[in-house]
Amino acid sequence: MKRIGVDVGGTFTDLIYVDDQKGTVLVHKTPSSPADPSIATVEGITTLCEMAKIKPSDLDQVFHGTTVATNIVIEHNGANVGLITTEGYRDVLHIARHKKPMNFSLWQNLPWQAYPIARRRNRLTVNERILADGSVQVPLNDREVRAQVRKLKKAQVDAVAVCLLFSFLNDEHEKRVAAIVREEFPDAFISVSSEVIPQYREYERFSTVALNAFVGPKVSHYVQRFDAELRKMGVKTGVQLMTSAAGVATPQAAVTRPVNLLMSGPIAGVVGGIWAGRVAGEPNVITLDVGGTSADIGLAQDGKLRMKHLLDTKVGPYQAMIPMVDVDTIGAGGGSIAYIDSGGIFRVGPRSAGAMPGPAAYDQGGTEPTATDAIIALGWLRSELFLGGKKDLRVDLARKAVETKIAKPLKLTTEEAALGIFKVLVHSMVDAIEQSSVRKGFDPREFALVAEGGGGPLFASHIAPEVGVKHVLVPNYPGITAALGLLTTDLVYEYTKTAYVMASDVVSNAKTRSTLEKQFAALEKEAMKQFVTDKIDKKRVRLERIVDARYEGQGYELRVDAKAGAIDEKWVKAVKNEFHEAHEREFSRRFEEVDVQIANIRVRAIGAMPGLKPTLVKKGTKTPPKTALKLTADAWFEKAGKPAKFKTKFYERTELLAGNHIAGPAIITQFDSTSVVPPGYTADVDRHGNLIIKYSAAVAKAAESGH
């Protein structure tokens, strides 16, 4: 198959082309076009096709990771949303969980009130009520609904969200409201809570459904236009999109539930990292994707993605109760600015110099020292090798910024200050990685740290010993690992339903069992229907059952795997076991004697895609080819807590061969990334071209005495 993955970032759009039969891999990087991301994308695809000497019509698939939906939320420029809800509950979105983002502030705004997804004037109620057992207390009045819909039409909303209380137990009222909306106001984008997310917790559900309506019209427009453009170019399959749950969705699915694209952006990086790990024989990976302003951190054990806790599934300040891969983003990147605050504390980030003015060394007017300036001052980035020698770096400006803003006030040397900036950032990343690894019960010693993005390989080797991972893995193309991730993803959908049953009841009560069976079956049927629409062969489909469980009386669930097959005592036992394990991992405690409640059930439906075959690099000897060594120069590394000068070798990554072994201090550069091998570390090139960077005591000793 001939496939293209497109990852649209804030600054660059990364594209990768793969021909599975020929084993061809081509990459392309082009500046993003934020006003209309599809411009850069379509242009990039055209260029890649030219490079590959194929016609667009030869392409079998185009996969796309997009921040379009995320940006609509963050820039708050979505649709004008109208909401129809149960009488007495007009302000669920306004009250939210009645908790302020900040404890110590009179000045803060509540984002959901200051920048509402649906303004109060467009939140209308209808007199109806479904009770906690699913029965109807107050029946719906069609005439009232019609009148409210007409009001919304008159108010010129673009989208209508239908959010009634307890609709996850009984959707008949919501269905009827939706039908009336379709009759009265066919142009509106409709988002119905029992369809988008039939799950309990009204604020979270309403917020998700309103967000779906908010991003819906624009995302649909974008997806459909992009799809049409591709088809016009001759791409028969159109576009497929990355979802927040790390699945790929068809344009049709994306248009119905655009809310599922909200975290499309950073997830491809984790998926790409998992693939890179698998290629290198590392099923357990922690992924670190460092860009200019932020770093994304993910973790996967046995190659399996983890999902976020529902309290954490937010987009900006808005709650979105959708399955999201657990990725943490912190404000630490190459552009992070170092400064001394008014109380005398040394800080780095989260403020960033961004693309403009950028680091001081770029000579675009920046005078504040960034992490990149610190790294330049340490001699790790050199002008002649940076971005293939295409961008001039002013070492003097970098040093000056570090010296005047940090070194002098703190009475440090320039190198001490530069190393300090680097170390503070390393520590923020270590902290964030620990947060998602060891603090969630994963043993970092069993994991490889996959360094991605332009900056990941700069930081990873210093992070590795702090976190305690086995080693660092730098994939072949660290800068486009995310784009690559897209091509390794399967078609994935997730369907969910609130069950709210006790495990003991499932065992003792035949009726509960059959209800649960039916609910699972209904979700599975829905999934299979989607695959028919997607024209995916049944044989390629795998269905997984998941439950959100908690101990009786607890308030928050944990997501655990459940078995397929008949729901019986054995099934329940297995679920309980999985849950006890998960609870112990998360909270270091288990309560075997307490009953377990199954709050929600889920079906994760996977339509297998062909995957990606790893390429092989030419085999060499232990010593890298002479031509790969570009220069030897002084660079500064930490020695006994202080910066010390080391003779350092600079290699070109693409000229390294499988089996090559490099002892630090060394710097390995490639077009879009730079890998640092500090003194005491070694780097080995595996047969697929991955760099494995390890700490070695023997090399450390040699490095110290050799100097």
């Binding site: 502030s105 000045w107 803060q108 109380g343 504390i345 040394f346």
Partner: protein, 635 residues
């Protein structure tokens, strides 16, 4: 326990050996302390059982030195932040520091020995390192029931012994071994054993986690560096706060008298709160002299665990507003060093043992609100107009014969904020020292024999101002089985103040709707009100005060307010002087200009608008802060 030691004594600056910590390590350790506190709180609220902990996050967690100085504390509910130091100093009167062992777990809730109030139980574990007691990992959390006279809430209790079982520095575990008889004694004497057990297990887990995380830092950096870094950070926070205090002109700033509704038993006897803020150099004193004498019910305030916390909160929130800072100023002992509090012994803010003091939140809120209003003259840009500054903390309970236990639901009802210079007040949100999460209705209705029938913004408009006040909520909860309702609340009589020409807001109100029809307006503080199946409690929360002259509000914003039902066409004309067509909602700018000039002339300079007289809903208990008289509703 009549012979109580003197309390409220700050241990002063640390005396442990200090070493120089380089700026990078200092930064790194600062981040690590903060992360530990947040993580402790995260474990606690995510694994706990009662909704008051897991949804409301009515908890605090952190690390403390051997004298109780706070190294770090979680960002949970502010009412907890800063009370744990006093719990620790309190239980150290009972527990011998020199005999603490690894694996000891201490529980404590004595309100005259540092506790915030009895249901906020503290669990603490010592941090012992190479034979030295470095400090404690400790948490407090509000447990559902503590075995007082009534389930859940005891606003009207005879004395401390009636409101709760008292745990004074007891070792729940000793050297890692459970004290089984104590464990039975504790859990046999509460109405909600299962919930309490689950919650206390979560508290224990959080403490052990905090301790172990701190051990890891000690292993890596050594105790001298870790403790010195902690003390450096305290100095940092102190320095930051003192720098802000120093910017204020020296002087005494006095808030208008605030009135609390009653003590929960003697109705119609309002309680006085007097607040004077004394600024001198880089130090602030909050002086409550002149406030009401202690009361014979549970409506007194523990001095250390609650009142001090309120004063710290007020000063820090106004002067180090998180939203205005470029970088966080960590919460630690340094903040406490800048603020002193005076409350005469025997007053409601410093009661004599063994007065009951179960219900103290509302009084603390009013101290904070008064501090804000008092300082509005010096820092007009940093304050809000008067806030709801109250809570209705409700308990709904009944007995489940099959389980031999009670069902018990605790609910914190939100308020609203006053307007600010440049921003309207926040609506429907936990106010000031409260910052809890509400419970999903869909969860409550499925879990308890209750049904919530309404939960949205109240019908009355926002308090007019150039920046309008926030709007409170209305909520109706119906009992489906017979049960008991208790509540500690306030602010049914005294509305939030408007400032700089803004209108006063609206007070709160609670109605008891009877199953058979009709309703009764009931006081904010109620203990053990029996409800029949079909009875409902309706809570209406205050609207915050307006900020600045409403005649200066942008007419466009007034129009938006009308469209969103935050005000009415009528009120736009009367209070804002904005003429809006009731059909098209277009503003008539010419007429508006004329009307505004007329109104300004008529009102003069010292005009004070009262929203109470402009709304149709009668607030029968309300009293005008300006005339001292009841205010009739609009007809």
């Amino acid at each position: 326990m009549a012979d109580l030691p003197e309390v409220g004594i700050n241990p002063g600056k640390p005396t442990r050996k200090r070493v120089g910590v380089d700026p990078i390590t200092l930064r790194v350790l600062g981040g690590a302390f903060d992360a530990i506190a947040q993580e402790m709180a995260g474990v606690l609220f995510r694994m706990s059982y009662s909704s008051i902990i897991r949804e409301s996050e009515d908890l605090g967690a952190g690390l403390f030195d051997a004298e109780g100085r706070e190294l770090c504390e979680s960002e949970s509910t502010p009412m907890h932040i800063g009370s744990l130091p006093w719990y620790i100093r309190g239980f150290l009167h009972r527990v011998d520091k020199n005999e603490l062992k690894e694996g000891d777990i201490i529980i404590h809730n004595h309100p005259y020995l540092g506790a915030s109030h009895t249901p906020d139980i503290a669990v603490a574990v010592p941090i012992l390192w190479k034979g030295e007691l470095l400090g404690f990992a400790a948490v407090t959390a509000h447990v559902a029931d503590v075995g007082g006279s009534y389930p859940g809430i005891n606003a009207d209790a005879f004395d401390m012994y009636a409101e709760s079982k008292i745990y004074n520095g007891l070792k729940w575990y000793e050297g890692g071994v459970l004290n089984e008889d104590l464990d039975r004694m504790v859990f046999d004497n509460v109405r909600t054993e299962t919930m309490n057990r689950g919650d206390m297990e979560a508290m224990k887990a959080a403490c052990i986690l905090g301790r172990d995380r701190f051990y890891r830092l000690l292993e890596k950096y050594g105790s001298d560096t870790c403790m010195s870094a902690a003390y450096d950070w305290m100095d940092y926070s102190e320095k930051r706060l003192r720098a802000e205090i120093k910017k204020l002109p020296d002087g005494e700033y006095i808030a208008p008298t605030a009135w609390l509704d009653d003590d929960g038993r003697n109705r119609d006897v309002r309680l006085r709160v007097e607040t004077k803020i004394i600024v001198k150099g880089d130090h602030v004193t909050v002086d409550l002299t002149g406030s009401n004498a202690e009361v014979p019910t549970g409506y007194n305030v523990p001095f250390e665990g609650s009142l001090l916390v309120a004063a710290y909160f007020a000063i820090r929130t106004i002067l180090l507003d998180q939203d205005r800072l470029d970088e966080p100023v960590p919460q630690n002992d340094g903040i406490f060093r800048c603020v002193d509090v005076i409350a005469p012994k025997g007053s409601i803010f410093n009661p004599n043992f063994p007065r009951a003091c179960f219900s103290r939140f509302n009084q603390c809120q009013r101290v904070v609100d008064n501090t804000i209003v008092a300082l509005s003259k010096v820092v007009p840009d940093l304050v809000t107009a008067g806030n709801s500054a109250a809570i209705h903390f409700c308990s709904y309970a009944g007995f489940i014969p099959e389980k031999g236990e009670y069902w018990l639901y605790l609910e914190v009802n939100e308020g609203s904020y006053g307007g600010r210079k440049g921003r309207d007040g926040m609506d429907s949100v936990d106010c000031l020292m409260a910052n809890t999460r509400n419970n999903p209705i869909e969860e409550l209705d499925m879990r308890f024999p209750m049904r919530t029938e309404r939960y949205e913004l109240r019908d009355e408009p926002a308090a007019p101002g150039q920046w309008r006040g926030g709007v409170g909520i209305v909520r109706t909860n119906r009992f489906l089985e017979p049960g008991a309702y208790s509540c500690e609340g306030d602010r049914h009589t005294d509305p939030p103040r408007g400032i700089f020409g803004g209108y006063d807001g609206l007070p709160a109100m609670v109605r008891h709707h009877k199953a058979g029809g009709g309703y009764e307006e009931i006081p904010a503080k109620v203990t053990g009100l029996m409800c029949e199946a079909g009875d409902a409690i309706q809570l209406i929360e205050p609207n915050g005060g307006g900020y600045g002259n409403p005649l200066k509000r942008d007419p466009k914003l007034v129009r938006e307010d009308i469209l969103d039902d935050f005000t009415t066409v009528e009120l736009a004309r009367e209070a804002y002087g904005v003429v809006v067509d009731p059909k098209t909602f277009e503003v008539d700018l010419v007429k508006t200009k004329k009307l505004r000039a007329q109104l300004q002339k008529k009102r003069g300079r010292n005009f004070q608008g009262e929203l109470l007289s402009l709304v149709k809903l009668p607030h029968r208990m309300a009293v005008s802060p300006h005339t001292g008289k009841k205010v009739a509703a609009r007809r």
